[in-house]
């Protein structure tokens, strides 16, 4: 290891940012009404997004100031995502402010179209989605022939103003009105998915094939790395709620949280959560510093944190007993977010394969 050690802590400024985001989310999100909203025609919450992305300026954290952003970085964006995970907030932060933004940052930002679009995304006035299936990780990216056919299960596509489409002819920006998005019924009620039909769409060519592919990979890498922080937030909420609930809930004339069979499971989960925090911070720091270690740090964080979030959410449902199975209790929203995120931006298996490649542990011939 020739590079300096990663900074795995939170800075004071990051803690301030967390406090501000948490307080806004606590004021503006109404977790119990989320399922009802998800079943309605406005699956995401435009007023919340306005407050978070535009008024607080968080949409532009990754964008340099000269392009209209905040000029912060991945460490700060990761903190925002932890809080979004903790509240399963239905906002297109990961898709627009991280994946699409990071993709654009991989292009020639001196060109008019790219700079203009980055400025709009940074201001929170418009959102964009990278038009690839939400399951794609950096290593599973495959290019379409051109602006043709249907792209399946694109996250936040139905509400995005612009679609970024990586194709064999280059990377295109397609206005939402040019493509036909069909909203799907997603497993995760708080992250809308849509199929996007591109046939006949007109778009603006932003980059050639190679630059476009590299930029999309960069977007997916940052997305996968910071998704780990969202997963950490999901897991933290699940553990905190479960501890609080089992401290109060009595059976056999004792709080159920005093039973060793339950305590050990929560203690084990705690250990996984603190480990997930180290892994997620490591990925965010590596992305922020542009470290050569970033691909490995992202693969490690994603392979680890996706499982921890699912485990935490499953334990949350189980240890809440019957109430955990109800539509009224928010536990199911976290389980759905966690389970979907496990398949998002590359499966754990894909990320482990990246680890094998990077550290030289090849499979059988």
């Amino acid at each position: 290891m020739t590079e300096t050690a990663p900074d795995l802590l939170y800075s004071e400024a990051e803690e301030d940012l967390r406090a501000a985001v948490r307080s806004l989310l606590a004021d503006r999100t109404d977790t119990p009404s989320a399922p009802a909203r998800a079943e309605s025609d406005t699956p995401y919450d435009p007023r919340l997004w306005q407050a978070l992305g535009a008024e607080m300026g968080l949409a532009g954290l990754l964008v340099p100031e000269k392009l209209g952003g905040q000029g912060a970085g991945h460490r700060e964006a990761a903190v925002v995502l932890e809080e979004i995970g903790r509240s399963v907030a239905p906002v297109p932060y990961l898709t627009s402010s991280v994946v699409a933004t990071e993709t654009l940052l991989g292009l020639d930002t001196a060109t008019g179209e790219v700079a203009a679009l980055l400025g709009e995304l940074a201001s929170g006035r418009r959102t964009a989605a990278l038009a690839v299936p939400f399951s794609y990780g950096p290593d599973s990216l495959r290019l379409r022939g051109g602006l043709d056919g249907i792209v399946r299960t694109v996250a936040d596509a139905a509400t995005a103003d612009v679609l970024l489409v990586p194709t064999g002819q280059g990377l295109y920006a397609v206005e939402a009105g040019e493509a036909a998005s069909t909203a799907l019924t997603p497993l995760d009620l708080t992250r809308p998915l849509a199929d996007v039909a591109l046939d006949g769409a007109r778009g603006t060519l932003l980059a050639d094939v190679d630059t476009g592919r590299a930029a999309a990979r960069r977007g997916l890498l940052a997305g996968a790395g910071l998704l780990a922080s969202e997963q950490l937030g999901v897991a933290e909420w699940c553990l905190t709620e479960t501890v609080a609930y089992t401290r109060d809930r009595k059976q056999f004339n004792r709080p159920v949280g005093s039973f060793q069979a339950l305590k050990h499971r929560m203690a084990q989960l705690w250990l996984e959560v603190v480990s997930a925090r180290a892994a997620a911070r490591n990925a965010a720091d590596a992305l922020a510093t542009g470290s050569q270690e970033a691909p490995l740090a992202v693969a490690v964080a994603q392979a680890y944190c996706s499982r921890v979030a699912v485990h935490a959410a499953e334990e949350c449902v189980q240890l809440h007993g019957g109430i955990g199975m109800t539509w009224e209790h928010p536990a199911h929203l976290y389980l759905k977010r966690a389970k979907s995120a496990q398949s998002a931006l590359g499966s754990a298996g894909e990320h482990r394969a990246s680890v094998a490649e990077i550290v030289g542990l090849p499979g059988p011939a």
């Binding site: 290891m1 050690a5 990663p6 900074d7 795995l8 802590l9 501890v243 089992t246 401290r247 004792r254 709080p255 949280g257 005093s258 039973f259 060793q260 305590k263 050990h264 929560m266 203690a267 084990q268 705690w270 250990l271 603190v274 480990s275 997930a276 925090r277 180290a278 892994a279 911070r281 490591n282 490690v300 392979a303 680890y304 298996g349 482990r352 394969a353 680890v355 094998a356 550290v359 030289g360 542990l361 090849p362 499979g363 059988p364 011939a365």
Partner: protein, 397 residues
């Protein structure tokens, strides 16, 4: 009266002075170590006169790096680990001036090895249930009982010992902490052969051992409180190692994987990668804990690191035996030996597999540590305890 705390520059200068006055190449190792102790460069955070300079603990690496660069001898910290990690902080905190002067220097230079007489056949996880008795007799205490799992007892000159001095009080009270001379009559050390074939531990039988009251550490009946200092330091020293990537048990199995493509299967590949990722995350978690300590924001992660490493060591070494296939059917050597050190890296996979089974037992079982995390970190309610207010002599056993 308060002197300025020495900074890194001053420590560097003092280290160079020590090296100039006692060139390592021309000085016996033990003489060098004594001079180093007397110069306050042994553990710089200890007080002046006791091997330190009252400097911040974080500056020790400055001294160590200078000395290593000059090829100076070290005090073999692994050999004297129990003394350094557990006895010394307890003597420093609870010892009299006379005890500190008598014990710390020979402990640090390695002239005197220490062991820990805590666990008993009937008091492992429930350590406060211990039954070894110490009865006052004038200026002495007469100790009788049996201890077990005692590493280094066969090499040790001194032991930290807890014994019951009042059977009428509940079990956490009525315990007193002593320093026991292992050469005294009545101390009998018997090797305890283990699962690996080695006798790394011992049973220690104490029969009418006479310990002077001057070798009591802390007040009579306050031994449980004193022991907490020892136990806290024990868990820190077990979980707090800083590792490079692949620095733990994952290292040997990754090496074997790279060098022996004929052993690879798809199933083992998936399991290896999962464990590799977990080992890397455990390393990062330890690194984060270290950064928290340096930043003066100690987190509770320390209580979890031992749990993580215990499970990983067991799973990784288990995988390694499987990976080796036919060779995994063999074992290097069952001859009974009494190792000075637990040697994880110098032995084969089968040894690592068997020895790592102890990682979830020694220094607090994983089950007990999970309770500690649940109650102290997460604030979950304690299990009902029916032995807290009962005199020790009235407990069922």
């Amino acid at each position: 009266m308060s002197e300025q705390q020495p900074d890194a520059d001053e420590l560097r200068a003092r280290t160079q002075e020590l090296l100039a006055a006692h060139p390592p190449a021309a000085t016996e190792a033990i003489d060098f170590l004594k001079a180093r102790f007397d110069a306050g460069l042994a553990w710089v955070h200890y007080p002046v006169g006791l091997g330190g300079l009252g400097a911040p603990r974080s500056l020790q690496p400055v001294v160590d790096a200078e000395l290593a660069a000059a090829g100076a001898p070290d005090n073999d910290p692994r050999r004297i680990g129990i003394g350094l990690g557990m006895a010394a902080p307890t003597v420093l905190k609870y010892g009299t001036d006379e005890q500190k002067r008598r014990f710390l220097r020979p402990l640090w230079v390695g002239e005197e090895v220490w062991c820990q007489l805590f666990s008993e056949p009937g008091a492992g996880s429930d350590l406060a249930a211990l039954g070894t008795r110490a009865v006052r007799d004038g200026d002495h205490w007469v100790v009788t009982g049996q201890k077990v799992w005692t590493s280094s007892a066969h090499l040790a000159r001194w032991a930290i010992l807890i014994a019951r001095t009042d059977v009428d009080l509940p079990k956490h009270q009525g315990i007193t902490y002593f320093i026991c001379d292992m050469t005294d009559p009545g101390v009998e050390v018997r090797p305890l052969r283990q699962i690996t074939g080695e006798a790394e531990f011992n049973e220690v039988f104490l029969t009418g051992v006479r310990i002077p009251d001057a070798h009591r550490l802390g007040a009579v009946g306050e031994g449980w409180k004193v022991a907490q200092t020892t136990l806290m330091n024990e868990r820190v020293s077990i979980g707090g190692m800083r590792l490079p990537r692949e620095g733990g048990m994952i290292g040997p199995v990754a090496r074997t994987w790279r060098e022996r493509p004929e052993l690879r299967t798809h199933d083992l590949h998936q399991r290896l990668l999962t464990l590799w990722v977990e080992a890397e995350v455990a390393r990062l978690t330890g690194e984060r804990l270290r950064q928290q300590l340096v930043a003066g924001q100690p987190g509770p992660e320390g209580s979890g690191m031992k749990l993580a490493f215990a499970r990983l060591n067991q799973e990784i070494s288990g995988l390694e035996v499987e990976l080796l296939g036919q060779e995994g059917l063999l074992y290097s050597d069952w001859t009974m030996r009494r190792p000075v050190l637990v040697d994880f890296t110098g032995r084969d996979a089968g040894y690592r597999y068997l020895r790592s089974k102890g990682n979830s037992i020694e220094g607090g079982t994983s089950e007990v540590l999970l309770n500690i995390v649940a109650e102290r970190v997460l604030g979950l309610p304690a299990e009902p305890r029916n032995d807290k207010d009962v005199a020790w002599k009235d407990l069922a056993r």
